[in-house]
């Protein structure tokens, strides 16, 4: 790992993250305005175009490059802080959230994604506006009643996805053991002269994962011992050095895999799938198809875990929990590929929608894609190639860290097969869509 002092200097700056949050907030206000009052055609509306064809595709790339850096600049966190400052009751996080929050977030994410397709939110300006306003309401309620950033930590539907993807990322923030051991102020958590403590309820001194670190820099600013280290690491490194693997994260990785299969299937079969799923009652058919598709990877991963357990002697649950993390890199690659496709196919809509929003242009460009079909296919194949390699390597490292030499290969093979099935199916769907 290589320290990068320049990033630490940025995080320690009093201007950070406000310097990013303010422009994001202004942009966000414009997006809301455009969604509620702009063009009704989603492809001409600044709000929908920027949300779904720029921000959404950029999110996956941001997770890969710098973990949850988006969370530091998210305008919702700024709104939450304001409301908390004004009327915050700072109540303890309810027991239900503390205990079940790690399950609730994936559940909310599944629900949100289902809504997205069920109500076709991507292609509806008003629906996108309502979605954003509904999220603001949740943020305001959380900031008004509960302590720190309860919304971001326990409720944000993107939090679970952000958490598992940021484990693949190149950037990490940790406390230096040799300095933390001498510290008896814990200002990183409780806050200090520079401001309140970690908004995400984390103790940087015992932080061993990037799941809940949003790189907001509050700990860096508060630490009196200059203990925090921001370092570059090999992508996915954190996945094979997890101290306490969580079943929720492995489960979410499997669910995300299912979700990407659903989304890629919809791309291929958008013309005939609704009729196939039930004609008039297509929505019910879609719902059944959606939830059934999410279950398949979970069941396949259980099968892989069962096969691995018969080889290495540990329980099915242990194998499911440990090796679930190996799926994350290829799922992230599929995610970037899927959302990036929207950007590459419709990227020219972004400058057009900005001009149109400002009243400078009303004529839609003839071609809106940034890259031809062959180019998009190559990008997909490169992403899947990198994802497969990284996932297989992660599976190997997990096996190496957990089992004796003679049991390693046998333990990882079922999961490598699962990675291959998932990637192969998605590549097939991408090829069919071209």
């Amino acid at each position: 790992m290589k320290e990068i002092p320049v990033v630490k200097t940025v995080l320690a700056s009093r201007l950070y993250p406000a310097v990013l949050q303010w422009p994001t907030l202004i942009f966000f206000v414009l997006i809301i305005y455009s969604l509620l009052h702009g063009a009704s055609d989603a492809e001409k509306n600044f709000g929908t175009v920027v949300t779904w064809f720029l921000w959404w595709p950029a999110l996956g790339v941001m997770f890969l490059l710098a973990g949850r850096i988006w969370c530091a600049t998210c305008p919702f966190s700024l709104i939450s802080d304001w409301v908390q400052k004004a009327v915050g009751n700072h109540l303890p996080v309810p027991k239900l959230l503390r205990r079940q929050g790690s399950w609730l977030i994936p559940a909310l994410f599944i629900l949100l994604t289902w809504c997205e397709d069920f109500f076709d939110i991507v292609h509806s300006t008003l629906a996108t506006g309502v979605l954003l306003l509904a999220i603001i309401t949740g943020v305001v309620a959380s900031g008004a009643f509960f302590e720190r950033r309860t919304w971001c930590r326990y409720l944000c539907p993107l939090g679970g996805m952000a958490g598992i993807y940021s484990r693949v990322g190149f950037l990490q923030l940790r406390g230096a053991h040799d300095k933390c051991i001498k510290c008896n102020s814990v200002e990183c958590y409780k806050g200090g002269k520079a401001g309140p403590g970690c908004p995400m309820f984390e103790f940087p001194r015992i932080l061993d994962s990037s799941t809940n670190c949003n790189l907001c820099g509050t700990c860096v600013k508060n630490c009196p011992n200059d203990s925090l280290v921001v370092a570059l690491r090999a992508p996915s490194r954190e996945l094979w050095s997890v101290n306490k693997p969580r079943i929720e994260e492995s489960f979410l990785a499997a669910v995300m895999a299912g979700l990407l299969v659903v989304l890629n299937s919809l791309e291929v079969a958008k013309d005939w799938l609704p009729a196939f799923l039930g004609g008039g009652s297509a929505r019910l058919g879609f719902t059944i198809f959606y939830f059934f598709s999410l279950c398949i990877p979970v069941l396949l991963m259980l099968l892989a875990a069962k096969l691995a357990s018969s080889h290495n002697g540990t329980t099915t649950r242990t194998n499911f929990v440990r090796f679930g993390y190996a799926l994350i890199p290829v799922v992230l690659a599929a995610h970037i590929g899927h959302t990036g496709r929207e950007f590459l196919e419709k990227g020219m809509l972004i400058p057009f929608s900005i001009k149109s929003f400002l009243g400078l242009e009303t004529q839609m460009p003839g071609s809106v894609s940034l890259l031809g079909d062959e180019g998009i296919l190559v990008v997909h194949l490169l992403l899947y190639g990198a994802g497969i390699l990284l996932s297989c390597y992660t599976a190997w490292r997990i096996a190496r860290a957990s089992y004796k030499p003679e049991k390693r290969v046998g333990s990882m093979i079922p999961f490598v097969a699962l990675i291959a099935i998932f990637a192969g199916l998605n590549i097939l769907l991408v090829l069919s869509a071209e």
């Binding site: 009704s40 004004a86 008003l126 008004a144 053991h177 814990v186």
Partner: protein, 226 residues
Amino acid sequence: MIRSFNPHFKEHLKALTLLTLLITAPVLASGEASASQARGVSGLSIFLWFAAINMLIVTVAAVMKRGAKSITAKEARHKRLEKTITFTIRNDTIEIGYLFDRTREFAEDHELPVKTVFDVCLALEEMVSYVISNGFDEGERASLQVRVDLEKDQTRFTVEYQGRTLNPLEAPKIDINLPIEDLPLEGWDIHLLRLLVDDIGYERSGEKNIFTVVKKWEVTGEGTPR
């Protein structure tokens, strides 16, 4: 009256006004001039609906905050009679922040000096972190009963849980004089706990581990719990 209720009222009012303006101004300004009036009305009504919900939430929170202020003193007096607090948490490091915050409030309610409050919280954080990191098998879910007792001149923490035997008294010591590259990655929580507290006790009772820690308060002439 408002100022005595909230000394930062002006600052807060400014923040709220700014927030409201930021979201409402563009929508209200557009008004009838929207490209499509029918859609514009629909967008505006949606916005107003959400604005009303948000204002309701903020108002309820403000009223609650005001109410909380008036009962806090009574509650604190009542709490001061209680010298013990107990928690049931699960074996997940996520819970440590919650435990830290609640213990901090408890210690502050008893008007312990600031340094003592954080010594107490830090000791508890290290103790629970040690148990969670070392007391369970991978993926095992369990509950921990944590008890904090404020005694005459010390705090006693007790953590009880069902799990494999984990005797903190037998944990290897770390030689901090070793070069940094030779220092172990594990075992720092118990090392720090030893430095922080005055006594560590352990008992195995059936399937249960009972781990006790005592932290004496520094005598400063102030801060005896009332």
